[in-house]
């Protein structure tokens, strides 16, 4: 209890006021004397919140103590008043208590009696204050929660993305107007109904059920694309995640729906454009190269050595452009996420074997020893096979390109359990230290002069890295100038069933 407090003593007898003052001051209390009811009430009106206890004499000339008590309680019912009654007049004390006085003390009283009754009153006062404080806090918290709730409700309702929340049993507890619109469901119609009873897309229902049954507590979102043809064709991207309680048990699921129809439309336009460019640029170039080939083989008549030289150079240039077009097409495919669209179980061992075999003629032409080995290669990984081909073809043809005649290039596959490691190493010219951090950048080519005669678009490794990243893998390079380079690709065997772009 607070040992300090303020006591107002209203008594017409000076001796009483002084007596109280003496006794209570020693207890560390502030004592305010008032010689009659008017003065007392005046002080109360001014300092209502400061005054903890009022000692009120009932027998006073002028305004009687009983009257003063009534006025005090009119000012504030929580004010604590101890009435002082004269000479064992218990009835008036009882009457005062009935009216609302907290306690009474009879004259004459000993200092101890006064201290005791005041101490009790102060404890009571303290309790009242605390209760009041808690009540206010609670009121404020409730107000805050209400404000927060209303704010959240407004946010959810105004969101352009759809929101669908289910409880742990799979009953829908919340949808917002955007979700209702996307799923063409009347407002509020879903609330309280089980997901199996609602007209939801099959895949969405499945991922909600999957999230609910997931016993894996690590945070995991299932993302998927949905195509709906209800009012108009609609592409949605749905992200479904479980909501966990503090104890770790699943409390429900939250699904966010994004309308990606316009993105799909743009994507289609882009693909159409890319295909158009591919055809319109590549076909004529292929024809030019074919024509050059015919002339170079002498089928269109004899050609001189100079003509042969020039035409050979011309053919190399057209080939370079063809390669650039191919790389740009690959890059646009990677950026459109198309190299991770068709994930299937593939045997890396088989794939690498084929790729190495495909590169043998090139290796042979440069008298490079090209080898392939695997450690426990008999497994499947979940990956896009075309993407994987692009990755390892690019790494391998780079290795062959930058390895001088008579060198060695090796591809090595290692099973690491949850991951697989593919190492492509060569005894080539190597990469300068300062180039290493940038070799995966678009159009970056190492500035070494030796490479002037080596063609390249500067896109190969960018494509490689993008595809590896999209498979949640990693690529790492170690190199020493003049000795060779080693590219190490790590890929998870089972990637998450769905990737969030």
């Amino acid at each position: 209890m607070d040992s300090h407090g303020t006591i107002l003593v209203i008594d017409d007898e000076e001796i009483m006021r002084e007596g109280c003052y003496r006794i209570l001051s020693r207890e560390g209390l502030e004592v305010i004397p008032a010689e009659n009811g008017f003065v007392g009430l005046e002080i109360i009106r001014e300092r209502k919140d400061d005054i903890d206890t009022i000692l009120l004499d009932l027998m006073m000339p002028g305004m009687s103590g009983m009257e003063v008590l009534e006025k005090i309680l009119e000012i504030d019912r929580d004010l604590i008043t101890i009435v002082i009654t004269g000479y064992a007049t218990v009835e008036s004390a009882v009457q005062a208590m009935k009216k609302g006085a907290y306690d009474f003390i009879s004259k004459p009283f000993t200092p101890d009696q006064l201290r005791l009754v005041v101490k009790r009153s102060l404890e009571k006062r303290q309790l009242i204050k605390e209760a009041e404080y808690l009540r206010r806090e609670r009121e404020r918290s409730l107000r805050d929660i209400a404000t927060e709730k209303s704010k959240l409700k407004t946010i959810i309702n105004c969101m352009a993305d759809g929101v669908l929340v289910s409880d742990r049993d799979g009953c829908i507890v919340l949808t917002n107007p955007a979700a209702n619109l996307m799923l063409t469901l009347p407002d509020g119609q879903l609330i309280g109904r089980h997901i199996t009873e609602c007209d939801l897309p099959e895949e969405l229902r499945a991922s909600v059920e999957k999230s609910l049954s997931s016993d894996d507590h690590s945070f995991k979102t299932i993302s998927q694309e949905l195509f709906l043809e209800r009012v108009k064709p609609l592409y949605l991207r749905a992200h479904t995640a479980s909501v966990y309680a503090e104890s770790g048990e699943i409390m429900g699921t939250v699904t966010i729906l994004q309308d990606i129809s316009h993105l799909k439309e743009l994507d289609k336009m882009k693909s159409d454009f890319v295909a158009m460019v591919a055809h319109e640029l590549r076909s004529p170039l292929a024809t030019v190269e074919q024509q050059l080939g015919v002339i170079l083989t002498g089928l269109a008549g004899e050609i001189t050595e100079t003509q042969h030289h020039l035409l050979t150079r011309a053919q190399e240039r057209t080939r370079g452009v063809l390669r650039l077009i191919k790389d740009l097409l690959d890059l646009s495919k990677v950026e459109a996420g198309r190299f991770i669209q068709y994930k299937e179980p593939i045997s890396l061992d088989e794939l690498l074997g084929k790729i190495v075999e495909g590169n043998l003629p090139e290796a042979k032409a440069k008298n490079i020893t090209l080898t392939y080995s695997s450690e426990g290669g008999n497994f499947f990984i979940s990956a896009d096979s075309e993407g994987m081909e692009v990755v390892f073809n690019n790494l391998l043809s780079n290795a062959l390109k930058f390895t001088p005649n008579g060198g060695r290039v090796g591809v090595h596959l290692v099973d690491l359990g949850s991951h697989v490691k593919v190492v492509v190493s060569d005894t080539g010219i190597g990469i300068e230290k300062e180039d290493i951090p940038r070799i995966f950048d678009k159009f970056y080519r190492a500035k070494s002069t030796d490479k002037r005669r080596i063609w390249g678009t500067g896109l190969g490794l960018t494509i490689v890295k993008a595809i590896v990243d999209a498979h949640l893998g990693s690529i790492n390079v170690e190199s020493e100038v003049g000795k060779g380079s080693t590219f190490t690709v790590l890929l998870p065997k089972e990637t998450e069933e769905v990737i969030c772009p």
Partner: protein, 130 residues
């Protein structure tokens, strides 16, 4: 052994270049500049082999190939697909699709090395003759 080859491609320059290669090896070359025309010529001329482009505006090579293979009289003519996939290494998926979807006898990337082109045509004709 017949040496009549039908070249079908919508790009006349490419047809010309391929024809030059084949004529140099004493093949009789007839040409068509589209899928529809190509199929008609195949019927009319009954060639010993067909070189068929994939990407053509009126009717693509896959469709022409399917129609050829569905026709009793034309079924046995070997078809060499000219693919526009710019890739110097065979891709497994592509091989798979080709094998499953087109029933073509062989395919070669465009542009084709003249020697390689001749080699493929020889091989097809030898297979047909066997």
């Amino acid at each position: 052994m017949g040496r009549k080859v039908l070249v079908i491609d919508d790009d006349p320059d490419l047809v010309e270049a391929v024809s030059l290669v084949l004529r140099a090896k004493n093949y009789e070359v007839i040409s068509a500049y589209g899928g529809v025309e190509g199929f008609d010529k195949a019927k009319k001329e009954n060639p010993d082999a067909i070189i068929l482009d994939v990407m053509m505006p009126d009717k693509d090579g896959y469709t022409v190939c399917k129609e050829l293979k569905a026709d009793e009289k034309l079924r046995d003519i070997p078809v060499l697909l000219l693919t526009a996939v710019v890739s110097h290494i065979p891709t497994t998926r592509y091989t798979l699709q080709m094998g499953m979807e087109t029933e073509a006898d062989d395919y070669i990337d465009k542009p084709a090395e003249p020697e390689e082109l001749v080699r493929r045509v020889e091989a097809l004709l030898a297979k047909k003759g066997a």
